[in-house]
């Protein structure tokens, strides 16, 4: 087990290295002087010279790469030209809202999607099944921001149940915090629910065909127990895999949802950085999100061992 974790950890290093390499070359491959690009439209010649010095741009590409990697490993992501602050600090300030939004979204998704998928599989071919599948196709098709504005219009403007936009830190009290996160969480979870409900249903359908389910039923085990502890447990591995893969969707969605709901998180930081052409921040955010994505999928692999003792690496 420990050996597996170690091997799996080692395997993520080339992937992350590749991401870093990609981010490094992304800037170098753009036409023009990277220092001028980094300094932005308002960069003074002095600033540009400073950046060239800082990044070692007058040196050869391999030397630049070594310098960049060295700084990266020290956690030095450079300084934002837009916010005039170290990028690391900028990111730290923005983590809480994004983490909160992602957590609320995940909870809403799992609470709704898994039961939906189980019921759809249990009542295979019925109207409930068709409804769930229909919702799933629809959920994939309605863009996050359209869904966001629709929910704001119905629940915040017409019914006045929730605030329209904004964010409150958890340190201001739990209820105001949750109250403002509910609509964004619901918005972001729609596409995720569509994905997870679909895979839960497919995975359950496969398992429900197995002999041991028939055996359990024939020996008089209650249907609820058959579904939850016999079937769902065995269907869990693909569901957890897709939850992990879906994190990429979630990250993309966070960028949009935070803009719609005016939440000062990492997603908003990304958009602000892009609009301000603040490349150190863009690079840092890409590195961070990719890192999180890779690590979550590593964690998913490890969860398999807990879910299914048969999997021994």
């Amino acid at each position: 087990m420990l050996g597996f974790i170690f091997k799996r950890l080692l395997a993520t290093i080339p992937v992350l290295g590749m991401v870093a390499l990609f981010v490094f070359f992304m800037l170098r491959m753009t036409p023009g002087d990277p220092a001028a690009v980094l300094a932005g439209d308002n960069g003074t010649p002095q600033q540009i010279e400073e950046i060239r010095e800082q990044l070692g741009l007058n040196q050869s590409i391999p030397t630049q790469l070594v310098i960049w990697f060295g700084k990266l490993l020290q956690g030095d992501l450079g300084e934002s030209f837009y916010f005039k602050k170290p990028v690391t600090q900028l990111i730290l300030f923005r983590v809480e809202p994004t983490l909160a939004l992602a957590t609320v979204t995940l909870i809403i998704t799992i609470l709704i999607a898994v039961p939906l998928g189980v019921i759809a599989a249990y009542r295979h071919g019925s109207w409930i099944d068709r409804l769930v599948m229909g919702f799933s196709v629809l959920g994939f098709s309605v863009p996050v921001f359209v869904m966001g504005y629709l929910l704001i219009y119905i629940f915040a403007i017409e019914l006045k149940l929730f605030p329209v936009q904004g964010y409150r830190s958890i340190s201001d009290g739990f209820w105001p915090f949750l109250h403002r996160l509910f609509l964004p969480g619901a918005t972001l979870s729609v596409i995720y629910i569509a994905l997870i409900a679909r895979i839960t249903r497919a995975s359950m359908l496969e398992v429900l065909d197995e002999e041991y389910i028939r055996t359990a039923r024939s020996k008089g085990v209650k249907e609820r127990v058959v579904l939850l502890s016999h079937a769902l447990r065995n269907a869990a591995v693909p569901i957890v895999t897709v939850i992990g893969i879906g994190i990429a969707l979630l990250i993309g969605g966070v960028v949009v949802t935070e803009s719609v709901y005016n939440i000062p998180g990492l997603g908003r930081l990304t958009v602000d950085a892009v609009l301000g052409r603040d490349y150190p921040t863009i690079q840092a955010v890409i590195l961070l999100f990719s890192f999180v994505y890779v690590i979550i999928n590593l964690a998913v692999d490890l969860v398999y061992c807990l879910l299914d003792p048969r999997i021994r690496y």
Binding site: P14, V15, L16, G17, M18, V19, L21, F22, M26, L27, T30, V37, H124, V137, L138, F140, S141, V142, P143, V144, F145, V146, Y149, L150, I152, Y153, I157, V164, R198, A202, L205, E206, D209, A248, I251, G252, V255, V256, S259, T270, V271, V274, L275, R277, Y279, I282, V285, I286, F289, S290, Y293, V294
Partner: protein, 313 residues
């Protein structure tokens, strides 16, 4: 029936092939998903192609005297010969006085152009790389490392970053959406090739010394076509969504160009008073993506029964 009998007399192999294509065509026509999706998509294509003749005006024409009108607002216009005609703003006007209806209708052009171009290019590029990677081990080792790294970066994020580096425009947006999609197609083609190359007919082709390009084109390529058509439709749906997201965030195609994302981005500020600027383009966008997704699901069920079974059972 008589057709089939005649073919049967001709040759058994021909009959098999023909029966398969006849039944596939039959199944496609009978699949409700394909019909509904296809019809909606056809309507959208017709709208995009005939936009100038659908009662539209210049979608970029700014009229400061007629800003922020509700849908159905009327106005009497004098034409060159001083005749008065009644002009109806079917979907109102935006905050610059542009006719939202005309912008929504013209918006179909950009969405479909981006969707189809990205789908076709990603399939073609992914096919070439995937065939080579699946067949040649040394290509595989280099290419897949690269693809793993690329896939670890959430797609929307990568697209946003690329557009911000390259500058906004139709071509850069298409390229930026295309690049994150390629690894997914490569993986699909590669997995098909890896499973097919173990088949006896490929091994025997290798053993009689068939040249490599011949093996790739004659034996491996045909097996990838069905899954690629399915994947292509999903790529198309996703590309349309990502283009809208880029425009909406203000990082995509320049704002004066009528795209559904741009109309919504423009309508954000006054959303509480004039929600129609978000909802009309939103409905068109969701309907188009829904149609492409439904078409994809239908194609998958008929063309790729193995995958369909795994997902729908």
């Amino acid at each position: 029936m008589t057709d089939n009998t005649e073919i049967l007399i001709d040759s058994a192999a021909a009959a098999n092939a023909s029966a398969r294509s006849v039944s596939t065509r039959y199944l496609l026509i009978r699949n409700p998903s394909v019909i509904i999706g296809g019809v909606i998509l056809l309507v959208m294509v017709l709208i995009a192609l005939t936009a100038p003749w659908l009662g539209t005006t210049d979608p970029t024409f700014i009229d400061p005297t007629y800003r922020n009108k509700k849908p159905g607002a009327e106005r009497i216009v004098m034409d060159d010969s001083d005749a008065e005609t009644l002009w109806v703003y079917r979907m109102g006007t935006d905050s610059l006085g542009r006719d939202v209806y005309s912008r929504v209708i013209y918006g179909a052009q950009v969405s479909l152009l981006v969707g189809v171009t990205v789908a076709v290019l990603s399939v073609l590029i992914g096919l070439v790389i995937g065939l080579l990677a699946g067949y040649l081990h040394w290509v595989d080792r280099i290419v897949m490392r690269f693809m793993d790294g690329l896939m670890a970066i959430p797609g929307i994020l990568l697209a946003i970053a690329l557009v911000s580096l390259w500058g906004a425009g139709l071509m850069t947006v298409i390229l930026a959406i295309l690049i994150p999609e390629i690894p997914r197609v490569v993986r699909l083609v590669r997995s098909v090739v890896l499973s097919i190359r173990e088949e006896p007919y490929v091994e025997s082709a290798i053993s009689v010394g068939t040249p490599l390009p011949m093996i790739l084109v004659r034996h491996l390529l045909p097996n990838t076509i069905a899954p690629l058509i399915v994947q292509g439709t999903y790529v198309c749906a996703s590309a349309i969504l990502v283009e809208a997201i880029l425009s909406f965030l203000g990082t995509g195609i320049p704002p004066e160009t009528p795209t559904w994302g741009n109309i919504m981005a423009e309508g954000r500020m006054l959303f509480r008073i004039y929600p129609h600027n978000i909802f009309f383009p939103g409905i068109f966008l969701a309907l188009t993506v829904l149609a492409v997704n439904m078409l994809g699901d239908g194609l998958r069920d008929t063309l790729d029964p193995r995958l369909a079974k795994r997902l729908r059972a």
